[in-house]
Structure formats: structure tokens, C-alpha cells
């Protein structure tokens, strides 16, 4: 569904991604691990089309279409959706205004209000300015809530779990699962396995208890250095740190 070929990205004339290759098939959700500063957020922002990240080489294909040159809103229309690690505060703009623009019908839908808005405790944020004074965990919840409104076909989630307490982590997990369930709910297909696809950057193993991930990738210095089973890889990182990557690169290559 999403294929990235030899992607080189520069920020302020400095190369941050140096040839990323990644492929995420339909109905699969992949995890993205990697040390601080390795380039996870840059990759995610580039997939979404943020203009400060300049693609100098390579391409991003979405459902076979080259989207490398498309604007953010064009990518959203094609079915991409993002939850940001550190979204900006928008002064004076109530969350409700945005929600009403994105999904006016949902706000009048009683089931949605009870099942989503109240259930995930978002009702009390509608009247507040977007991300203004939200706690770390509240920001994550708000980001996911906005995705619940539009249910994109492909999610890029940048650390949706960081700074979230164990109890709320469960809720965050439930929200992500709910967003991913798009297709099943809309009855587009009979396949009960059918769901949206996505890429989730995370540092923790816990979130993976709540969301089924099919594969994991580790980012090291702006490249994906190895890929494999999410749980196994997380174990290794825990035990050996990211330096294990460098060694495992060979092993991984043999595996394939």
C-alpha cells in the first residue's frame, strides 16, 4: 500500500534521511523503532508531505501512485492521516471549530457522541483551543480523536504512546484499534481481517500489547537498518540497545 524507495530527505540543507526503503502492504500495521534523533519523525512528516522536509532523491508511492510531489491536503484526500509527536498550538481556534469543519455530521450523531466523544473523554476538550495547554497525554488523545473523525486508510502515528500513563495507554490502544477498523465497520469488505494500514513510531513495547503489528523496522542514522518481528526486536533493543542493530543487520539479510 505504501512503498518508499531510496528516500533521501534534507532539512535546512542537511541530509537527515539517507536512503530509506520501506514497504507496507495493505491491511498491515508496522512499528518503527529507533533511537532519539534517528529520523523517525522526519520520515513520518515526509510521508505526510510537510514542506520543510525536502526529498532530494527517491520516491514515495501510495497505492502505486507517486505522491512525492503532492501537497499535504492532496495526500489526506488520498487517504493518509497523521498523529503528530508534537503538534502546534493554535491560538483562539477551538477544537470544536476544527471538528465541525472536518465532520459536521458526526457532531450531530448521537451514537458517535456517546461512543467516541464521551467514551474517550474528549467532550471537555471541544471548547478549548487546539492543543493549548493540553497535557502530553491529552495531546495524544486529541490527535487520535481527530483521526477517528476521518478514519484514513493509512495512518502514520508518531509516538502516540509517549508520556501516556498505563491506564490511558489502554484507551490510546483502543482508539488506534478503532481507527484501524475502518473497513470492517463500513462493510466495504467481508474479510474480518481487513483493516486500515499504518506505521507507528514508538519507543515502548507496551503499546504493542494493544495493537497488533505485523512487522517492525529499526531506524538508525536516517536509514532502516533492519526489519523483523516486532516483539522479538523490541526484546533485543531492551537487552542490547540499538547497537544490536548494527550487528543484526547481517543476520537479518541472511534471513531474507
Amino acid at each position: 500500500m505504501l512503498t518508499i524507495n531510496n528516500l533521501h530527505v534534507s532539512v535546512k540543507q542537511k541530509e537527515v534521511l539517507g536512503g530509506v526503503n520501506l514497504s507496507i502492504p495493505e491491511n498491515e500495521v508496522h512499528a518503527l523503532f529507533g533511537a532519539n534523533g534517528s529520523g523517525k519523525s522526519v520520515l513520518i512528516s515526509t510521508i505526510m508531505g510537510y514542506p520543510e522536509y525536502k526529498v532530494t532523491r527517491g520516491e514515495i508511492l501510495f497505492r502505486g501512485q507517486n505522491i512525492t510531489e503532492l501537497n499535504i491536503d492532496e495526500r489526506v484526500k488520498l487517504g493518509l492521516g497523521i498523529s503528530e509527536q508534537r503538534p502546534p498550538t493554535i491560538k483562539g481556534v477551538k477544537l470544536e471549530y476544527l471538528v465541525n469543519l472536518l465532520a459536521p455530521e458526526k457532531m450531530n450523531d448521537e451514537t458517535f457522541r456517546i461512543k467516541m466523544l464521551e467514551h474517550f473523554g474528549m467532550d471537555k476538550f471541544l471548547n478549548r483551543n487546539i492543543n493549548d495547554g493540553f497535557s502530553g497525554g491529552e495531546i495524544k488523545k486529541s490527535e487520535l480523536f481527530l483521526l477517528l473523525l476521518t478514519r484514513p486508510d493509512f495512518l502514520v502515528l508518531d509516538e502516540p504512546d509517549s508520556g501516556v500513563d498505563p491506564e490511558h495507554l489502554k484507551m490510546i490502544g483502543a482508539m488506534i484499534t478503532e481507527i484501524l477498523q475502518k473497513k470492517k465497520q463500513e462493510g466495504e469488505r467481508c474479510n474480518p481481517q481487513a483493516r486500515s494500514s499504518g506505521l507507528i513510531a514508538t519507543h515502548s513495547a507496551e503499546i504493542l500489547n494493544y495493537i497488533h503489528t505485523d512487522k517492525a523496522h529499526i531506524m538508525l542514522d536516517g536509514k532502516i537498518c533492519c526489519s523483523g518481528n516486532p516483539a522479538v526486536m523490541m526484546e533485543q533493543i531492551r537487552a542490547l540497545g540499538y547497537s544490536y542493530c548494527i550487528e543484526c543487520q547481517h543476520a537479518n539479510q541472511e534471513e531474507h
Partner: protein, 405 residues
Amino acid sequence: MEQFAGIMQDAKMQKNEAGVDYSRFDNIEEAGNSFSSFENLSLNNEDLGSLKAVGIHLFDNASPGKFLMYGADVYRSIPQIPGVEIIPLKEAFKIYPEIKEKYYFRAVDKEQDEFTQTAFNEAANGYFIRVKENVIVDEPMQTAMFMHREMSTMCIHNIVVLEDGAQLNLITGCTSGCSLKGGLHIAVSEHFIGKGAKLTNTMIHNWGADFVVHPRTATIVDENGRFVSNYYSVKPPKYIENNPSTYLRGKGANAKYLTVLASFPGTYCDIGGTVLMEGENTGAELVARAVNHGGTVIQTGLLIGAAKNARAHVDCSGLMLSDKGIIEAIPGLRAAHPEARMSHEAAIGRIDMGEVNYLQSKGLDEMQAIALIVRGFLDVDIEGMDDELRKTIREISELSGHGED
């Protein structure tokens, strides 16, 4: 460096470039009627729409008294609330001869400039509104000034008197309709706010591109009285200079100004306010918001603290949405008493593209994202603001979403 030559001058110099040539305008029209009721008025849907755009709903019966100057003709409906009057000024002088001595050019100095002199010499008509002691009017009173003849001159004089303890929410819409290009609008407004009384005056302007507008407004506030002034410009004229004065005479009197405007290429808007805090424990706040698409905007605020414990704050902010154009914020404070406490803030900047991109990533297109951010910028908490006025603000923001054209 040549390109900056104009900018290096005081922005007020730009007004010369606005090139106001008064000979283009016709003389002030003779009054057509002395006054008439709304049953005798027929307006087409376009005109009614223009009035709605400036917050005026003539045929909505909830309003406690209405007043319309349509060119030189006066229409009004009599308030059904005892103690509330709205009368054409010329008629009011006949009915209550004493008010001329008491209020006429008692807040505004008739010698102030050529425009106040014109209003005096022409004995301009307008409204006289009076709310008697302790009468509280809940619903907003609506008044409108409608210019409907190309290149005409409208000259008006309004007086509002709130006796002690009275409260009034007044909306005044000034418009030139949808199709008119040019004209000259001169308006003297005098407000007298009694002890513990409260006036909320909301003014909404929507002008054709070649209009010249000179409001001259002054307000006198007695002990513990409160004056809230909201000014919105949906579409600015070619030239407007609006710098109302407020005199906080009595102890504990209080004034709050809010001005919100969007400016377009070829327009010059000098919008501000001066508050003189003469009484002890008086307070003044001035908030100005401007979105500039390429005209000249001057935000002038001058708060003068001349008494013990006078408190004042000025906040001028501007958003530049175009590479052309100027916003000059002049938040002024003048302390004339050692125990006056005064502060100001001013910020001018371009729209944050990070915010625009963020909203796009949530599913808005660029126009929608800009309009939403501008709306947030303009949507300061306002007293006396109802849904209609919120809609007006939304319209101003939506214009912004459409960029420079």
C-alpha cells in the same frame, strides 16, 4: 533601498497617497422626510442582505426600537419599553429643547476639525437615544446608516444618553450596499453614560472600495459607568480615520475597546482610540486586531492615566497575509499620575505556516486552514457579542482565506 523609501516615512504619511479629493463628492442631501415608520419603507432583498451583513435585522421584531437613515431619509420604530426613546435628533430638539444645551457638541468639540464643523454647520440629523434611570434594555437596539447613492455625502449626528443605572446594547451598522463604489460619510457620535450605567456600542462597517469615512466619536463616562466599544470592519473603505475619545470622568469608570478589521490593497485604515482616565480607580483596555491583505493599517491606542489607581492595558496585534501593505501598531500609554498602572503589548507577524500545514494534515484545504487561523486570531472574547456578530467575524476570516483578491 528605493523600494523602502515610502516605508521609512511615518506610516501616517501614506494617507496622502490615499489621495482624498473631497470635490469628487456631491453636497450633502436635503432630508427627504422628517421621519417615517418602517411600514413606509420598501427595500429590495439586496439591501436587506447588506444590512444583515452589518448586523441589522430591520424586520425582526425582537429589537427594542430601530432606526435607519437611508440616504437622507429617516425611518424608525418606537421602542415598546417605557423609559427608552429613539428619536431623530432634529425632532428630539423640538420635543426636548433642553437637550441641545446639555448634550449637543458637549462630548465632541465642534471646532475639532473640518468634519465636526461640517456636521455643525449642516445641523446634521441622526438619532437621539435615551434610556431613563435604572432601565435595563436586554435585547440589542439596532440602528443603521445606509448610503445608496453613488458619490453622495452623508453627514450625521448621533447622541446616546444613558441615565444613572441604565443599560443598553446598541448595534450600529454602516454600509454602502453591495454595488456602490464611492461616497463620503461623516458621523459625529456623542455618548453620555451615567453613574453605574453601561453602554455596549457595537459598530459594524462595510464599505465600497472608494468610500471616505470620518467618524468623530466621544464618550463621557460617569462614576462606575462602563463603556464597551466593539468595532468591526467587514470591508474597509478607501480611507477611514476613526479615533474615538473616551473620558472616564467618574471614579471607578471603565472602558473597553475592541477593533477588528481586515484590510485590502488600496485602503488606508487608521483605527484606534484614546481614553483619558480622569477619575480614581478607572480602568481602560484596548484590544486591536488587524489582518492585512495589502493596505495600510494603523492601530493607534492611547491610554492616559491621570488619576490614582488608573489601570490600563493596550494590546495591538496584526497578521500580515500579504507581502505588500503595512501594519503599524502604536500602542500608547501616558501616565500623568504616579499611581497609574499601565502596560501594553504589540505583536505583528505573518501567518504561521506550521499551523496551516498542521490543519491541512487534519483534512482542511489551505484556504480553510488560513480562514480558521484568522478566525482564531480575530475571535477575542467580546462582551455583547451574539451569534450574528460571530458570523460577521467568520465572514471577515473567510475573506482572508481567499487571499489577496
